[in-house]
């Protein structure tokens, strides 16, 4: 297990590729050079900062530090989930649903993966929790976001059909059956695609990282398979939870459609 440490010069050489891109943008007046520069600097600063923060947190022995970073990660992911929605729920409903789903599913999947599958010692070792939770949240965020987006769009567009079913005596979940099925399909199809092509089109990022860090590729594959199961499972559960939670928020206890709980369309 050995890996080649990167020096500042190595990073500068890699950045050269971006500088070539910038030069092309300037030569052809694409107007992208400044955006490129800002995005590249942002990426560098963010990742470097995360590296330092993780260094600090990995050095701590108290589970409280792990808990703190878990909460920060969930809050940031919940915020991002809401930002991605075109039709958002009003006020605290939006953040409530996003954060509750991510905390529940992300937390459960991560704890499950760590305690049952990886079982490091101590179990709260941030070296395992933080990267696994990060991957789980990133993937769950995408599937939740797709599910909610499709659900709210469908509810607005098919308002008349949903209300017709309600008027005929359907419960709220029956009335939403078509829209709900479409939302879950939209959220879960990309997960199936990712699993189907894993390792064929490209090596998954984590496996690549482990191989570059000197791990045995067969061992790296085992880790990647475990992570794929956890990520896909968590994303699927997250899509279910977000979509059903969304139906509950879009309706009330008397099974009425409550589109008034969506914020007005920004457009």
């Amino acid at each position: 297990m050995s890996y080649i440490e990167l020096s500042g010069t190595d990073l500068a050489l890699a950045a050269l590729l971006l500088i070539v891109n910038g030069a092309i943008s300037i030569a052809f007046r694409l107007g992208l050079a400044i955006s490129f520069g800002i995005a590249a600097v942002r990426m560098g600063v963010q990742l470097a900062a995360v590296g330092f923060v993780l260094n600090f947190i990995f050095a701590q022995t108290s589970p409280l530090w792990t808990l703190l970073i878990v909460f920060v990660m969930v809050l940031v992911a919940g915020y991002e989930l809401v930002q991605r929605q075109e039709r958002r729920f009003r006020s605290w409903f939006a953040y409530g649903l996003g954060n509750a789903t991510l905390l529940l599913v992300g937390g459960l999947a991560t704890v499950y993966a760590i305690v049952v599958v990886v079982h490091p010692s101590p179990w709260y070792a941030p070296r395992y929790i933080v990267p696994i939770l990060g991957m789980v949240l990133g993937n769950t965020l995408t599937s939740c976001s797709l599910a909610l987006q499709t659900l709210t769009e469908g509810a607005v567009r098919e308002r008349a059909a949903i209300e017709a079913r309600i008027a005929l005596g359907a419960t709220r979940t029956e009335a939403f059956a078509t829209v709900l099925r479409r939302a879950l399909n939209t959220a879960i199809t990309p997960l199936l695609n990712v699993m189907s092509v894993a390792g064929i089109v490209s090596l998954p990022g984590m496996m690549t990282g482990q191989i570059l860090a000197g791990a045995n590729p067969a061992e790296a594959a085992k880790y990647q398979i475990m992570i794929m199961f956890v990520l896909t499972g968590a994303s699927g559960l997250g899509a279910f939870a977000a979509a059903f939670g969304g139906v509950l928020l879009l309706t009330d206890a008397r099974h009425r459609l409550r589109l008034d709980r969506l914020a007005p369309s920004p457009a």
Binding site: E158, A160, A161, I162, E163, A164, R165, I166, A167, L168, G169, A170, T171, T178, D252, A253, R254, H255, R256, L257
Partner: protein, 202 residues
């Protein structure tokens, strides 16, 4: 007996009235007076303060889906969620008689909804609303897209529902239709004044 007691539909003064079985109450008023809102509130599709009793049971005492199986709101433009009309009815429902009664062919049930005309869809919507025999029919302009002949057939079907003991509330812009079907009228003035019940003759 359907009893509406101080039902406060959003933006309207509270209304109270009663409709007995075998009776049709016409709901009248200018556009925006709240006719549709009133029917929707009675079916508990929109929240409203006040009380609606059907045979002594207030709507809040009955699970909402069950209430709407008894108190059926039928929109002027029925909406469809599946490709064919048949999928919108309970499996095995005996529909042919009802479909023929409104002047349509039963084979229409298996044609794509998108190929049907507005009038055909409106008649299928009427059949869908009464096929499972709800106690109360809240009909929102049930013949607005129909020609004279189809209107007559639809009215005949509605009259049959009244004769069979159902309670019917009818929103219609056709005074002659109101005279033909309704025994009393509820007039929503639409200017903030309270609604009044009148006889159809007045």
């Amino acid at each position: 007996m359907l009893r509406v007691d101080y039902l406060a539909v959003s933006g309207l003064p509270p209304v109270s009235f009663e409709v007995a079985p075998h009776e049709c109450l016409a709901v009248e008023g200018p556009s925006g007076a709240g006719k549709t809102r009133l029917l929707r509130a009675i079916a508990d599709l929109d929240a409203a303060d006040g009380f609606v009793y059907l045979e002594g049971a207030e709507r809040r005492e009955v699970p909402a889906p069950e209430w709407r199986r008894r108190v059926r709101y039928a929109s002027a433009e029925p909406a469809w969620w599946d490709a064919r009309a048949r999928e919108h009815f309970l499996a095995g429902a005996k529909l042919d008689r009802l479909i023929l009664a409104v002047g349509l062919e039963p084979s229409l049930l298996d044609r794509p909804i998108s190929e049907l005309s507005t009038g055909e869809r409106q008649r299928l919507g009427l059949v869908r609303a009464l096929a499972d025999e709800p106690r109360v029919l809240l009909l929102d302009e049930p013949t607005s897209a129909l020609d004279a002949q189809a209107t007559a057939l639809a009215e005949e079907l509605i009259r049959f529902q009244i004769l069979a003991g159902r309670i019917v509330l009818l929103v219609s812009h056709n005074p002659a239709q109101i005279v033909r079907l309704a025994s009393t009228r509820l007039v929503l003035p639409g200017d903030g004044r309270t609604a009044v019940v009148k006889s159809v003759a007045a």
